[in-house]
Amino acid sequence: MKAFSLSLKGLRRDLRAADVRALFVALMLAVAASTMIGFFLDRLDRGLTRQAGQLMGGDLVLEQSDPFTKELRQTLRDAGLTLSQQVDLVSMASRDNAFQPVSLKVVDPAYPLYGQVRVERGDGTETLAHGPDPGSVWVAPRLARLMGFEIGDTLRIGESTFTVSGLVEREPDQSAGFSAFNPRVMMHRDDLPATGLVQPGSRLEYELLAKGPPDAVARVQSRLDRLRDNGVEVRDVREDRPRLGGALDRAQRYLSLSGLAAVLLAGVAVAMATRRYVDRHLDTAALLRCFGASQRQLSTLFSLQLMWLAVAASVAGALLGLAGQAGLLAILTRFLPLELPPPGPLPLLMGVFTALAILVGFAGPMLLRLKCVSALKVLRRELDPMPVSGWVVIGVASLVFGALLWLYSGDFMLSLGLLVGGELALALLWALGHVLLTALLWLVRGAAGDDRHGARHAWRLGARQLARRRQASLGQLLAFSVTFAAMAIIALVRGDLVSAWEAQLPENTPNYFAINIQPDERDGFREIVENASDTRSDLYPIVRGRLVTINDQPAEATVSADQEAPDELRRALNLTWRATLPAGNRIVAGEWFDADAPAGDDRPVPISMEQGLAERLDVSLGDVLGFDIGSEHVSGRVTSLRSLDWESFRPNFFVIFPPGALERFSHSYITSFHLENDRQATIGKLVSRYPSVSLLNVDAILEQVRELLAQVTRAIELVLVFVLLAGVSVLYAALTASRPMRAHEGALLRVFGAGDRMIARIQGAEFALLGIASGLLGALLAEAAALGVYLVWFDLPPRLHWPLWIVLPVGGALLIGGIGHLLTRSVRRQAPMESLRLLGET
C-alpha cells in the first residue's frame, strides 16, 4: 500500500519531466495503433463473415436432393438459427410457342435472410425484403428480352401460368453468379406443387439456409458433421467464406504490419526516454538508499511508477484507438455491411498487454540500473552504476518484440525470421554507423578552417561533436535509422500496394463475360466484339470434364482421410486447349508444351495445370491425370505448372490441353471483353443475334472491388499517419534524452565565447548531420526490409526505391534539425551558469 501511494506521488511529481511525457506519448501511440488496428481488423473480420453470409444467402447453407426433415429444421431453430428454405431447379419457361430453359428459384416467406432484392416493378425500381407473391413470378431482364415480354405479361412454367410482376435486377445471394447460365425465374413456395415439376426423378436441389451467430452454428456442429458424412452439402460461412480478393488480404496484412511498426517505433521511443528517466532518477535512488530504502523497495517503487504510467497511457491509447477504428470504419462504411458487430474487449486487453510488454522489454533492463545505485553516490557523484550494455537492452527488447510479432502474426517461423534478420541488420547498421562517424571525423579534419565564425566552422564543430561522442551518437543513429526505415517501409508498401491494385483493375478491365458460344457462332460473335471492344480476351473453347484419376489411382484416394476432398474433385472442371500460354499466366515449373510436337495415340498428352490446384491435390510435374469427358477417358501428363491471377476478370483455366486433344468433344466457347457504357447497343445486337449465348455483366462486381480498393487505400493512409506520429515520438524522446548533454556543451561553448547564433549553428549542423546519416542508413535498412516483406508477405515484385535515398537523408536532416532546434532553444536562452548548475544537479 505504501509503495502504491509513494509511486503514485512520485509519478505525479514526475509529470513535469519531459522524459516522462515522452514515455507517456510513446506508450499511448503504441496502444492506440495496436488497438485501433486490432479493433478494426476484429470488426472487419466479423463484418466480412457476415457479408459473406449475405453472398451465400445465410451463415449456413445445407443442400441436398430431398426435402429437409422437420426434425432437422427444429434442431437448427432450437440452436438459435433463423431458417429459410429454397428449391432450385432447371425448368422450361414457355410463352406462345417460344421456349427457354430457366433457372427456377422457389423461395419461402423468410427469403432473403440477408440483404434485399432489387426489382423493377414497371413503375420504378424497388428494394424488397421478400420474394414474389403467390401467383406471380419475378424474372431476369435477360429472359424478358429473349422471349420478348414485359411486366404484366404471363409466362407458363410447368403446368401453371404466372403473371410476371417484376424484373430482378439484383439478388442479395449472388453466389450462383457465373454458374447460373440460364436466366433466373423466382417463384413463391406455395406455387410449386401446382406446377407439377416435383416428380420422382426430377432434378431438384433443396437448400436450407440458416442465419445466426457463430456460436449458434457451433452448437449444431456435430449434427452438421453427420450430415456431411451422409452426403449433404454443408457450406459454413466460417469455413467457406469467399475470398474477397487478395487485395483485402494484403490490406489486412498491411494493417498488421503497420501496427507492428508503430509498436516497434514506440518501443524505441520508450527505450530512449527510459534512459533519460533512469539517468534523472539515479540521484533520487541514491538518496532513497541513503534514507534507508532497500533494493526491493526501489525496484518496486520505480516499476510501479512506470506501470501507472503504462496503465494511464493504455487507457488514453485505447480511447484514441477506439476513435481511430471508428474513423477507419467511417472510411470503409460504404463497403462494409451496415450493422457491424460492436468492438469486442479482446483488442483492448491486447492493447494494455502490448503497453506493458513494451515497457518490460524496452525499459526493463535499463530500470535495473536504478536498483543497483550505491548510496555512496550521494557523496561521490561519479559513482553511477554501470550502464546496461546496449546489446543487452537490444537483446531483451528484440525478444519481447519477437514475442509480440508471434502473438500478432501467429506465425512462429516468420517472427523468428524477422527477428534474426532484424538483429543482423542492427549489427550491420552498428558497424556502418561506426564507419560513417569515422569518415565524418576524417572529412572535417581535412576541411580548411579559415572562416572561424562562419557556417563552415559550425559544420566542422558540429561534425566533431557528433563523431567524438561516439557511443551516444551511435545509439541515436541506430534509433533514428530504425525509425526512418519503419516509417519508410509503411509508406513504400502503401504506395506499391496501391499501384499494384490500380494496375490490377485498369479502366478497361473486361466487364462482360460471354458463355455458351457455339462453334458455329464463334467467328460471327468474335467479329462483333472485335469491332466494339477495346480490350477482350481470346475465345477459349470449353470442354467439361471430371478429374477422376491421378497416376491411375482414384483422385479422391490421393487426398488424406482427415481432409475433405477439394471442390474441384466433386464437380466437372472447365478444360480448354490452346497452343500458346494465355495472357496473364506465368509458367512456374516445367515447360509449356510444344504445340507442334506429334501426339502419340498411346501416350498421355502434355497438359498444363494451375499451381494452386496442383498443390491442393498434391500433383507434381510428370504426374498423369485422367479425366472423364462424356463417356470417354482422356489422360494427360503434367508438363508445366502455371500461376495466374484469378482476379483478372479474364477466363482462367485449371487445366489446359494442347491443340488436337479435345476438339472431338462437344464444346462451346467463352470470352470476356470490355464495353463502354455508351456502347450497350452492341449487347442488344449480340443478344438478338446469338440468343443462346449467356452474357454476364460484371460491372457491379468490378465496381464493388474498385470501391473497396479505394476505401482500403484511404484507410491505410490513416494508419500511415499513426505510424508517422509514432516515428516523430521517437525523435522527440531521443532528442529530449540528449537535451541535458547538449545544454552542457552549449553552456561550455558559451563560456568559451561562442555567441547564441554560433551555438545554434553548431547544434543545427550536428542535428542535420545526424539526420543525413540516419536517413542514409534508414534507406538501406528500408530497402532490405522491403525486399523481405514484399516477397514473403505481400507477393509483390521487389524493386529499388531510389527516391528513398534522397527523401530520407533530406527529410531526416529537416525533421531532426527542426525538432532539435525547438528542444534546444530554451536551453540556449539560459545563462551558461544556470545550464552548468542544472546539469550538476540532474
Binding site: R13, T284, L287, F291, G292, S294, A375, L379
Partner: protein, 239 residues
C-alpha cells in the same frame, strides 16, 4: 592514535575499530584509511577535520553504512554494519539517520516541501506533511514551500536539506562539508541552525569539514591524517 576520550558511562551510538579502506588505482593499491578507530556517544557532536583528499568523505560514507570497509568493524546503533548486506544497512538507517550534504542533494523536480517529505515517504504517517511544513517554517522557509530548488538560493537550499535531515527525528545526523558550497555569512547561518537543532533534538552529530571555525563548535574534534584519526585540542582547532 586511538580516541582516548572514551567515557564508559555514555552509550555508544557509533563504533569503528581497525577500519581500513584500500582502493586499486591501476597497478597501485592506495590506502585511504588505515587501522582507524572511533567511538561516538549518544548526543555528542564530533567534527572530523582533514585536508582535501584525506579521506573524510570516504570515512563518512563508511560510518553511515553507505559503503563497506576493506577491513575492520563498524557498528551503528549497536549493530555491525559489516555483517549486514546493502539492504540491511539501508534498513538500519531508515528514519534514524539524517544527512546534510555539501551539494545539498535536493531533487530538482521536487518542491521544497516534497524534498523534505522524501525520507518520510519510506515509512509514511498521517502527519508527515504537517511535520514537513513545520520544519520548513522552523528553518525560515515557511513561505517557500512550493518553490523548486532552482528558485532558491544556495543557503535556502541547504536549509531545506537541514529540515529534511531533522524531520524524521533521527538519532544521528551526518553532515558532509555542510558549508562547503556557501559564502561565509550564509555558512555561519547554516552552522547556527544546525547546532541549534542538534541541541534541541538531542541528536548525535558527526560532521566532516575542513573549516576549523565550524569544527570548533563541536564538542570533540578529530583530525584525519594518513588514514588515522587523532584527537585535537581546542587550541589546535582554533589555529
Amino acid at each position: 592514535m586511538v580516541d582516548d576520550s572514551l567515557n564508559d558511562s555514555k552509550v555508544s551510538i557509533l563504533h569503528a575499530a581497525q577500519v581500513s579502506q584500500r582502493v586499486r588505482s591501476g597497478e597501485r593499491v592506495l590506502t585511504i584509511l588505515d587501522d582507524l578507530a572511533l567511538e561516538v556517544h549518544t548526543g555528542e557532536s564530533v567534527a572530523i577535520l582533514g585536508s582535501s583528499g584525506s579521506g573524510k568523505s570516504t570515512l563518512l560514507g563508511l560510518l553511515a553504512g553507505l559503503d563497506t570497509p576493506s577491513e575492520g568493524e563498524i557498528q551503528l546503533f549497536g549493530e555491525s554494519l559489516t555483517a549486514l548486506g546493502e539492504d540491511g544497512r539501508a534498513r538500519l538507517r531508515a528514519g534514524q539517520v539524517g544527512f546534510v550534504f555539501q551539494n545539498f542533494q535536493l531533487l530538482p523536480t521536487l518542491t521544497a516541501l516534497e524534498n523534505v517529505l522524501l525520507p518520510q515517504e519510506l515509512a509514511p504517517s498521517s502527519d508527515d506533511e504537517q511535520r514537513a511544513r513545520t520544519w520548513l517554517s522552523r528553518v525560515g522557509l515557511g513561505e517557500r514551500l512550493d518553490h523548486l530548488p532552482k528558485q532558491l538560493s544556495g543557503g535556502e537550499q541547504q536549509r531545506v536539506a537541514v529540515a529534511r535531515a531533522f524531520v524524521s527525528h533521527p538519532r544521528l545526523v551526518f553532515a558532509d562539508e555542510p558549508t562547503g558550497n556557501l559564502d561565509r555569512a550564509t555558512g555561519a547561518h547554516i552552522i547556527d541552525l544546525l547546532f541549534e537543532l542538534n541541541r534541541e533534538m538531542g541528536t548525535t552529530l558527526v560532521l566532516v569539514t575542513h573549516d576549523h571555525a565550524l569544527a570548533s563548535r563541536c564538542e570533540r574534534c578529530l583530525r584525519l591524517e594518513e588514514g588515522r584519526l587523532q584527537l585535537m585540542d581546542h587550541a589546535e582547532v582554533a589555529s
